[in-house]
Symmetry: C2
Subunit: 342 residues, 2 copies
């Protein structure tokens, strides 16, 4: 007879909580892709169960659960937790920040990941990039935005952190609610506007059915990095092989999810514009008002919080080089491609 398979390693089982509904196969889907990859790489000896928002905890309960060591990992956006520390926002997206590619470079080869993990260590976790949304849209509005004054008193669901504070300076009344609760609020008129991600996710959530104007030129998310938040103690307990598996599975999910957005967004966009969505650029004055507000918020936090200042200054030094480089590489290439007829 055939000898039974020998498994030298004990089975490992982890739980991952995500901040998203199962229906979002982009965001929640990065967790599913991660789990599938871990299983394949370990020959089934390491399994991760993936739980949508609300299954194990509320959408924004992940950092608390990691701090209390009650869960091995989460999949979420760091800027949901700026109530704990405003510097969390740097790990996801900040106004006039980085693109998807730049974010990856800052984290993998610059000081980004190192500085952020020092901050996250206080909450018992470290991060691995899970997927990047790419440059996001400026959101859905029931009325047109013609000048910065149109933001005054606007009840809007938006991402947190420096961006939320900048919008507050422009008069927006920010509502930090899970994406799944927005449709009803917009329909009832208790919400005037929402920005979530981009065409594919936004269409899934039905925002185009309850708001007419879809703006682009969003200065606040050049590329939002969603991340796996991994409990430090759980990671340290893994064998070196399983630690490598966690990192490699994150890279697989990141490559898959980031490119999936690029594939899906234009298809959704065309469909929505075909059924009545009005696509509009933010006026220049709105972008300028956003820049002024964001710079004030950066200055205020930097004056009060040394940890925020340290990360902010590192980000900007890195970014100045990136802007120099993009001006002679991807930017002119994209401009050329926007001008030729293929």
């Amino acid at each position: 007879g055939v000898a039974p398979a020998v498994h030298a390693q004990a089975a490992v089982r982890w739980r991952m909580a995500t901040s998203f509904p199962k229906s979002l196969e982009t965001l929640h889907g990065a967790g599913v892709k991660f789990a599938e990859t871990v299983k394949a790489l370990s020959g089934g000896k390491f399994e991760v169960s993936v739980h949508a928002a609300g299954e194990l905890m509320p959408a924004f309960g992940i950092v608390d659960a990691l701090s209390e060591d009650t869960i091995e990992m989460g999949l979420t956006a760091a800027y949901y937790y700026t109530g704990k520390d405003p510097a969390f926002a740097f790990s996801c997206a900040v106004p006039f920040g980085l693109t998807a590619g730049q974010n990856q470079a800052w984290k993998e080869h610059g000081n980004g990941r190192k500085l952020l993990n020092e901050l996250f260590a206080k909450y018992n976790f470290q991060t691995l990039s899970a997927l990047n949304t790419g440059t996001q849209m400026g959101g859905w509005y029931r009325k047109e935005i013609k000048s910065p004054a149109d933001f005054k008193g606007l009840k809007m669901r938006l991402g947190g952190g420096v961006f939320g504070e900048s919008m507050a300076k422009l008069g927006v009344v920010a509502q930090n609610m899970p994406a799944g609760e927005v449709y009803q609020a917009l329909e009832k008129g208790t919400l005037d506007a929402v920005e979530f991600v981009g065409p594919y996710d936004d269409e899934k959530l039905g925002y185009n059915k309850v708001a007419k104007y879809y703006y682009y030129g969003a200065w606040w998310e050049g590329g939002a990095d969603l991340e796996f938040f991994v409990n430090n103690k759980a990671l340290a307990k893994l064998s070196p092989e399983n630690q490598a598996i966690v990192k490699a599975a994150a890279a697989v999910a990141n490559q898959d999810g980031t490119s999936k957005y690029l594939m899906l967004n234009p298809v959704s966009l065309k469909r929505m514009v075909g059924s009545g969505t009005q696509l509009k650029p933010f006026p220049k004055a709105v972008v300028e008002a956003g820049f002024k507000a964001a710079q004030e918020v950066y200055a205020e936090h930097s004056a009060k919080e040394p940890a925020f200042k340290k990360i902010y200054e590192d980000l900007r030094a890195f970014q100045r080089d990136q802007i120099l480089w993009s001006r002679i590489s991807e930017l002119p290439f994209l401009q050329t491609m926007a001008s030729v007829k293929i």
Copy 2:
């Protein structure tokens, strides 16, 4: 006593040949990163030895070796092999083609990888992305390029495929030689110009010491995808676990190498400009002449080769959506960031 470790799987050893010198820790380095990752993920049961150009075979001998099943994998650029089939170029970079992110989306979620692997199956291999250079520079020139006429008779080392044929239409006398042989040829004046990758690699190879003018606005490589070429029979012989390891290790290398270029390029660029390099944009007429020439080459191949036509048309349909999307996402974001003072 402690029981000895039990290894249920036999040891697997593969050899990888790269087209690059060891000194290029970007390009050749992606192979090293891949091998390190395979070893870590398999707990040392699967090892890949990585061999620089010339160690096992000449820089451009990889496809022949894979066809003859004498090697398990290579790390190279598909457009080096357009002598076998002009459609090979689509897997790396073609004029007025895709950016790094778009290339990934076309391959992972569009039809790109599938169509290309059908072509590559005739040579017994399939590909996995190894790293993307991002938008490349337009190369080094001993004399200024003021109009398309300045390309006439220019002896230039450049990437192959549609791009090389387009440049030939403009009068360039193309020299397809390994990057490591270029310095001497430029110094001796048997070569007038070279385009290789971008600031970091170009500085390593010393091109700035033998040519003064460094051009940007290269329409030919919006993002060149270097790839692992994996022998189909060798891959099929692996366990499902080791097959997953090969794929995941490629994703790790890709994330690492693609972002490494973004980190390193601006630093090298500043250093070279500081020591005398003259940075210049291609004149608009040069880009227009390049577009006209490339369109002619695409039309000629499409008329003669159905396989080329099929991939070209799929690429362009995908790309038209990507241009639509980039015009309202990353392009305006990069433009905004080039205009603000951070």
